[in-house]
Symmetry: C2
Subunit: 335 residues, 2 copies
């Protein structure tokens, strides 16, 4: 029943690996050069669904994920609703704790501690960003979450783990999502030129580190060993264009619409759009497509070999990776 529900949940989309049989065929599929996240997410969620079923049968308890939502930020509410819908499709018990905008730091810490101590809770999400009066203490709140319930991989201990030589247990979902997209493309990164735009602690920086590190396993050839350039707001725009125009792969994680334009992309490059921001153009409002990525999608898809759309690209896979983390952590705590 779950399987059917998930298939119904995702529209039928074509996985890009089907186009990777021969180079000739790749060239022929240049019109179909959109790398959809939904088939990738579907595969992960199907696996999660089976794992969830096994977990429930074995432990007579549904894996429980709790999201803490502070204030009334519309985007945050939307993200949490999205996570809830997907988690419940998989079979996860999902709860939301709503805190008013003016919650005190100590009250927020108390909520986190209660969830840490509640043995029935397997994963905790602190939905970011926090309201302005709490934003400076974000790291402190995150580090209050037990690392074995940290499905977002944001705590110091988990956030550090992607840099270890052994495979990390919990990877930041968005980093995992980019990894899954690259595995889907199936082209070794070793020796390739990659530009990561954005240097944030939870997205740009861990992505750059993952992609540049040395190869540990045969599979990791596809997601590491690249020459990585970290660009950001202080990179002059001419330099950004110069680096991008040379890159085999561009990954943008900034949140600025149309930052990556046609003229910045080398023919045949792979462009992965991790950015998300609200668009207020008339077209966006009329078509109700409010969320846009960093990439000028309609133009860039004319030149790139693969480009991910927003929505329907990395975002969909990110939520699937979050659920995957929950199941990993839930099983780990039972062992």
């Amino acid at each position: 029943m779950f399987c059917l529900a998930i298939k119904h949940f995702f529209k039928l989309t074509i996985s890009p690996t089907r186009f990777l049989v021969t180079d000739t065929f790749q060239t022929a599929s240049i019109k179909n050069n959109i790398l959809y996240g939904k088939p990738v997410a579907e595969r992960i969620l199907n696996r999660c669904q089976n794992e969830c079923k096994e977990y429930i049968e074995k432990y007579n308890h549904r894996p429980k994920l709790v999201a803490i939502l502070v204030g009334g930020n519309e985007s945050s509410k939307l993200y949490v609703r999205n996570k809830q819908r997907i988690a419940e499709h998989v079979g996860v018990d999902f709860h939301v704790i709503n805190h008013l905008m003016h919650v005190t730091p100590s009250n927020l810490i108390d909520t986190i501690q209660d969830l840490n101590n509640d043995d029935s809770v397997d994963g905790i999400i602190l939905q970011l960003p926090l309201p302005l009066h709490l934003i400076d203490k974000t790291e402190q709140f995150i580090d209050a979450i037990r690392s074995d319930k940290d499905v977002d991989g944001h705590t110091t201990l988990n956030n550090y783990s992607y840099r270890q030589s052994s495979s990390p247990f919990v990877t930041i979902p968005v980093v995992d999502a980019v990894k899954e997209m690259l595995l889907e493309i199936g082209e070794p990164l070793q020796g390739k030129d990659v530009v990561v735009i954005g240097r944030s602690k939870y997205v740009g920086t861990p992505l750059a580190l993952m992609l540049s590190q040395s190869n540990i396993t045969a599979k990791s050839d596809l997601i590491s060993g690249a020459t990585v350039t970290i660009c950001h707001r202080h990179t002059p725009s001419t330099n950004l264009t110069w680096y991008c125009k040379n890159a085999d792969i561009i990954i943008s994680a900034v949140g600025r619409p149309k930052l990556v334009t046609y003229r910045m992309v080398k023919e045949g490059a792979i462009v992965i759009d991790v950015g998300i921001s609200k668009s207020w153009t008339d077209k966006a409002v009329v078509s109700n497509k409010r969320f846009v990525g960093d990439v000028d999608f309609d133009e860039v898809k004319r030149i790139a070999r693969w480009v991910t759309p927003v929505p329907g690209g990395v975002g969909a896979v990110t939520v699937a990776c979050l659920i995957s983390n929950l199941l990993k952590l839930a099983r780990q705590r039972k062992q």
Copy 2:
């Protein structure tokens, strides 16, 4: 007396900031474009000496640093002797524990635990590399060191700290040394193109992160905000040349002689050599200059604005930063 000893210890060298009064003067000083580490180290060690004196007066106890040396690696012995000589000049109580090559992992852990529990010990150095039969467990041994005695900043907790938004308490000495060299040059990095060659956990990667992060303080303008490219053994040599030739600053931390050649350096660039390896050429043996860096120094100094020598460059400052870490940690433990 200590002051005199340190002045005697270092040869008289000219600090590069003296040449930074005007651009005209900089151009005029193109023959003097060697960025010596010794004056920088001398300044740090003079401060350390005063701090050490104050510490001894206040606590009636000399800060104690213990190095664990496993096996008979000649380079390791030389490094430890060098650290000992400088530490003792400053007034630090320095001890070496020699373990035989075939020490068991549990014996090594026991040694570290004894030093952790010995209240008179303020800092522990585990001299790397370990012998082959222990090398795979290096991280495990390092993480056995109490983070408040970890003068090398190698433990997971300290190694992570350079990524925090607040200033880290203990920075990896070589990272700190490069920072000091850049502060000495005094040119803001923001928006500049930097190439870091090498992606090692304790050198290349933390350097790349430090230089690319957002600016926290006015002073950090000089050591962060750059567009950083991480190159490494999988970067094809033509690409390496391409990135380097564009770079305002090249930092090489590989350990391969003459990796950075004249034709890879842009006129007026800054070249910081963190690499160190043994040279077996006849010239090196005859002149007893066995240790060389990654940079083809004699050639590169003709084109670079500043280039650091090996020996006498970053290495000298690294040891000074190690001693500075010891004093920080010793004071912290007394508070």
